[in-house]
Structure formats: structure tokens, C-alpha cells
């Protein structure tokens, strides 16, 4: 795999992380991150939809007329979402119950449509596949990070394994306000690190120029 292909795959992990840097797809990020299991399930479902829709849209980019592209994208995305929705309902009923309405809502997740519009309709099928996979993994990383923090602080467990006794749990973190707070602090921390890195790079460039 050449360097640029690898770059397409990995840029979604951190540098252009869809939730933490680009701030797309906030609704599921806030809603389903009450536990790590939910976060992973949601991440996997979204990654599947991203991957498939990115691939199909870039394969059809020359067939779809420019004027009706957004409705066509939405129909393609909705088809894959219905598929994954029925699959999860059939094989993982407990996950389906805890994610609830947020699985059909992947349709309106800005990440999916955003990648279709910004990447898949300009690039080759293979590149779009990598991009979808990378963005999906980045989304899953962000969800799992936030889900982990909320589960540890809120229910004193990780992946359902209880290690802090129930009387020391801070219930607020599994409730609504905790979602906003944790998301805000995680985003601030990530931006702080990214800013630091960029400043370092600038300084290095300056020193080299001297």
C-alpha cells in the first residue's frame, strides 16, 4: 500500500476525526455513549453504512446526474441503513433495544452524507472505500473514548465489568448533562493536543529556515 493510500485511511483516525475535529454526527455521539458496548455497536453500524455507501456512490458517480445527486445519495444511504437495522434487530436484539431510534437515524448522520459529497463523488472506488473505513474507525474511536469515560465515571464499570462499588458512582455521567460535559472536555483536550502539535511543527520549520 503506498503512502498516500495509507494516508487516506488514517487521516480519519485523529487528524480529521469526524466527531472531535470536524464536529459531524454529534447526535449519536451524545446519545449512545452511555456504555462502551453501545458505543462500539453504533460505531460498527455506522462504519458499515459509510463503507458501503461511499463505495456505491463513487461507483455510480458518473451515472447520477449532478442535479439530483443529494436525493440519490440519501436513497442509497437509507437502503444500507435499513439493511443494517434489520440485521441488528434480527441477530442482536438487545443492542437494537438499547440503540433504539438511533440506528434508523444513521441516515441523517452528517458524516455519511458529508463524506459522500466531499470525497466519494470525486474519487475512485478503492480510495472511497478506504476513506469510508477510516472515517468509520475514527468515529468508533471517538465514541468508544467518550463511552468509556462515561461508563467508568457513571456506572463504575468497563464493558459491563464492575470495578468501582455502586455507592461511588456519579450517576450524572450516564444522564444527559454528562454526555455534553464529557464530549466537551474530550473535544477540548484533543484540540489542545492538535494545536500543540501544529505549533511544534511551525517552530521546527522556522528553526530549519534559520
Amino acid at each position: 500500500m503506498s503512502n498516500s493510500k495509507l494516508n487516506i485511511l488514517t487521516k480519519g483516525f485523529f487528524k480529521e476525526n469526524p466527531t472531535l475535529i470536524l464536529v459531524l454526527g454529534c447526535c449519536p455521539t451524545l446519545a449512545v455513549t452511555t456504555s462502551v458496548v453501545n458505543a462500539l455497536g453504533m460505531g460498527a453500524a455506522t462504519t458499515f453504512v459509510l463503507l458501503m455507501s461511499n463505495m456505491l456512490i463513487s461507483a455510480l458517480k458518473n451515472v447520477i446526474p449532478d442535479k439530483v445527486r443529494i436525493p440519490s445519495y440519501i436513497v442509497i444511504i437509507a437502503t444500507f441503513v435499513s439493511m443494517i437495522d434489520l440485521l441488528i434487530q434480527g441477530f442482536l436484539p438487545s443492542l437494537s433495544a438499547s440503540l433504539g431510534v438511533f440506528i434508523p437515524l444513521i441516515v441523517v448522520n452528517c458524516i455519511v452524507l458529508g463524506r459522500a459529497e466531499a470525497f466519494a463523488n470525486k474519487n475512485t472506488v478503492f480510495d472511497s472505500l478506504l476513506d469510508g473505513l477510516g472515517m468509520g474507525i475514527g468515529f468508533t474511536i471517538a465514541l468508544t473514548l467518550i463511552g468509556g469515560i462515561r461508563e467508568i465515571l457513571g456506572s463504575g464499570s468497563f464493558l459491563g465489568f464492575q470495578f468501582i462499588p455502586a455507592e461511588y458512582n456519579m450517576l450524572i455521567f450516564v444522564l444527559a448533562p454528562g454526555a455534553f460535559l464529557v464530549f466537551g472536555f474530550v473535544m477540548a483536550a484533543v484540540r489542545f493536543i492538535v494545536n500543540k502539535n501544529e505549533e511544534k511543527k511551525k517552530q521546527k520549520a522556522l528553526e530549519e529556515a534559520k
Binding site: 451524545l30 431510534v101 441523517v108 444527559a176 455534553f180 473535544m187
Partner: protein, 191 residues
């Protein structure tokens, strides 16, 4: 039911739907109100139409698995309609809302409410009623407008404060929203 939908189950702060416009348009109170009005209109209309479709088309033909696709198409065309209307009726509001009007299509609040009302009964014992659903959607949209307007007011104040660099913009907005959500938790036992 109405107080419950507006305050207790506030769509943004408790159900986490419609976060994108909540963070995007909420920097000025006026734009927030305009956005709220647009969402209210679209949400009421969309829920009315999708409830009718669910009751008279999807269920009799037992093709409810097409629900997601049908609903999103209905919402997308409704939004287009509202956009054209607004362009004619109120060009200044149209300019203010700008890019966010087409984004109502991908506002999960609208689709979320449309799907939610088909899955649960709004008033216990009433069964599936198109009128109940539409009223519920209007109440939810009022809650949306309320939250987005309060939040816009807070953010106008935030502009004046010195904030650490990494916190600027969205992170501080999210933390503010968290504190606002805590305040809304106080309504929890109201109904």
C-alpha cells in the same frame, strides 16, 4: 403531554436529537428563533404526512421495513418546499438561515420524531392517532425552539469572555449545554 414534551423530554437536552443546528445556528438569538420556527413548521407537517403514510400505506401493505426510506424522502421534499416558500415570503429570514434550511433534511430531530411517534403511543390508551402525533411534534418543536433560543442567549454572553484556546468554540458550547441540561433535569418530576 405538552409540558412533558417541551420541558421534561426536551428534544435537544434530554433526547439528543438535532444537535447539529443546535451548535451551528445558535450564535444569535434572532437566527435561533428563525431556525426554531422553520423546524416547528417542517416537523409538524412531516409528522402529519408520515403518520398518515404509516397508517394508511405502510401498515396495510405490511411494508413497514421501507419506513426509513419513505420518511426521509417525504422530509426532504417538504424541506425543499419550505425553502421555496420562505424565499418568496421572507427573503431576509431566508438569507439569515442560509445554509441551515437544506440542513433540516439531515436534522435528525425531524426524522427522529417521525419515527418515534410510530413506535410508541403518545397518550396511553389512545392508540395510534395522527392528531396526537402532530400535536406531540409541535410540542417537541416548541421545546427545540426554547432550548436553542436560551442557548443562543448564553452563547452571545460567552463571546465576551476570555476562554482557554483549546476550549474555544464548540467545546465550551458543549459544556454550557451540559450545564443547561442539568437545569432542565430539574423539570424531571413535573409531569
Amino acid at each position: 403531554m405538552i409540558i412533558g414534551a417541551v420541558l421534561v423530554n426536551n428534544i435537544i437536552l434530554v433526547q439528543f436529537l438535532g444537535i447539529c443546528p443546535f451548535l451551528g445556528v445558535s450564535s444569535k438569538v434572532n437566527t435561533a428563533l428563525g431556525m426554531g420556527a422553520a423546524v416547528t413548521f417542517v416537523m409538524a407537517l412531516a409528522t402529519l404526512v408520515t403518520s398518515l403514510l404509516q397508517k394508511y400505506v405502510l401498515e396495510p401493505l405490511s411494508i413497514t421495513y421501507l419506513q426509513t426510506i419513505v420518511f426521509i424522502l417525504v422530509i426532504a421534499s417538504l424541506v425543499q418546499m419550505v425553502e421555496i416558500m420562505l424565499k418568496k415570503v421572507s427573503p431576509s429570514l431566508y438569507r439569515a438561515l442560509g445554509v441551515f434550511l437544506p440542513l433540516i433534511t439531515t436534522n435528525c430531530a425531524v426524522l427522529g420524531v417521525a419515527i418515534n411517534v410510530t413506535q410508541q403511543t403518545i397518550i396511553p390508551g389512545h392508540g395510534f392517532s395522527v392528531i396526537d402525533n402532530t400535536l406531540y411534534a409541535i410540542a417537541i418543536a416548541i421545546g427545540f425552539t426554547l432550548a436553542i433560543t436560551i442557548f443562543a442567549g448564553l452563547r452571545e454572553q460567552l463571546e465576551l469572555v476570555e476562554i482557554p484556546k483549546g476550549m474555544k468554540g464548540v467545546p465550551i458550547a458543549l459544556i454550557t449545554a451540559g450545564i443547561l441540561a442539568m437545569a432542565f433535569m430539574g423539570f424531571a418530576n413535573l409531569v
